[in-house]
């Protein structure tokens, strides 16, 4: 029979290893979620959010400063309301900043990129970001391209004539 002491020792090692793994996963693999205490919420209205999901990053100059908290459709104004939670460390974002929905890489998800404006006033909890740019929808893009090309085609025909 294995002595109780040895059993306890290896069980202890096993349990510690398990918790160490959990700690590793939570701290090293994940982007720790901003705790609600030291963050503030702003929102923006978009015509089209593309495939933006709650939990997506909000970034300035490529640095993640917050996350998308919720996305709902507002029937009064027929727009999507995107609520974002931003870390309080970043409390000097001008009110006239511009929020646009961007795509990271070909397979990457969509995120919100904030382009800093020039006002002296800063966004605070509950504010709205007025300037927005909707998601690029591939179909619209293609339609525009097609339209442009066909118009140009007509023009060339006209000049030839």
């Amino acid at each position: 029979m294995r002595s109780t002491r040895a059993v306890e020792l290896s069980t202890g090692l096993f349990v510690l290893l398990g918790f160490a793994a959990l700690f590793f996963l939570v701290t090293q693999i994940t982007n720790r979620q901003l705790s609600l205490n030291d963050s503030y919420e702003v929102y923006a209205h978009f015509e089209n959010i593309g495939s933006l999901k709650p939990g997506a990053a909000v970034s300035i100059a490529g640095v993640t400063v917050g996350r998308v908290e919720s996305i709902v459709f507002d029937q009064q104004i027929y727009k999507a309301v995107v609520r974002m939670r931003i870390n309080s460390r970043y409390d000097k974002i001008p009110v006239d900043s511009d929020a646009s929905i961007m795509t990271s890489g070909l397979l990457g998800g969509q995120y919100i990129g904030i382009t800093v404006g020039g006002a002296d006033e800063y966004l605070k909890d509950g504010d709205q970001i007025e300037f927005v740019q909707d998601a690029l929808v591939l179909e619209n893009l293609i339609n525009q391209l097609v339209a442009t090309f066909s118009r140009r085609g007509e023009q060339t025909q006209e000049t030839e004539q």
Partner: protein, 255 residues
């Protein structure tokens, strides 16, 4: 007509088995407070179910991670998105492969050991002897083993995932040359604490399910060599099916 009757019969026996397992579960739960008074017994079972499964879990985790590294790289480089390897494989490991493969390995390694141990205790009158000594086998035998499994599986899952990510990194970054900074930063950017929690929840649920099946099959085994053998086989089969079924349900619920 006879086919219908047979179907009805097997349906009825299935429902009866589900009921029996549920009642068994309630009985185990009822004895847990008293089992907790003897932490030494639980430690012993965490050792049996967890510490003794560590080697197989770590080996399998490493290989699963390495395969993910190879396959993931092969797939992603077609789109020029090798940098997403960290994200993709970490999510796959945390949400699916880690909990599921750990549960399957646990059922094969520790579940069968539990079932055959309890079955043999029944076959050699040890459980009856305990009852005669006024010791409830549910408190002394079943509950500590059940708890040991429930504690061990989530921990094993976390270890499996960590080793797996190390394996992905080993192949992807060290061998195939994915940029290490991109690998880790993309992974960090898109994996959330809630994803890890999903893995933990799955690990806990699978731990409860597989441990319950193992102790139930052992406890209700026909007390013969053949009966105990059948109980261990059933433990693996039922645990595997139940794990995958629960996995689907949990995934659907948490996505």
């Amino acid at each position: 007509m006879t086919l219908l009757r047979e179907l009805l019969d097997s349906l009825r026996s299935f429902v009866a088995t589900v009921g029996a397992v549920a009642l068994f579960f309630v009985r185990v739960l009822g004895q847990i407070p008293r089992a907790l008074l003897r932490p030494g017994l639980i430690v012993e079972q965490v050792y049996n179910a967890g510490a003794l499964s560590l080697v197989i879990i770590m080996t399998c985790g490493l290989f699963v991670g390495m395969v993910l590294g190879l396959q993931g790289y092969d797939l992603l480089q077609r789109f020029g998105s090798e940098d997403a390897l960290g994200t993709g494989s970490a999510l796959a490991l945390i949400k699916e492969l880690g909990p599921v493969v750990t549960a399957l390995l646990f059922a094969g390694r520790a579940g069968t050991a539990l079932a055959s141990e309890i079955g043999l205790m029944r076959a050699t009158d040890q459980l009856a002897a305990m009852e005669m000594m006024a010791v409830d086998p549910f408190r002394r035998v079943v509950a500590p083993r059940f708890l040991g499994g429930c504690i061990a599986v989530p921990l094993l899952t976390m270890i499996f995932i960590s080793i797996g990510i190390f394996g992905v990194q080993l192949i992807g970054v060290q061998q195939l040359g994915v940029d290490a900074a991109a690998f880790w930063s993309q992974m960090r950017a898109s994996v959330d604490v809630s994803d890890v929690m999903e893995g933990v929840i799955k690990g806990c649920v699978f731990g409860v399910a597989c441990s319950l099946i193992a102790v139930y099959e052992g406890y209700t085994a026909t007390p013969t060599a053949e009966g105990v053998g059948r109980a261990t086989t059933r433990t693996v089969v039922i645990s595997a099916v139940l794990t995958l079924l629960l996995d689907y349900m949990l995934t659907a619920a948490m996505l």
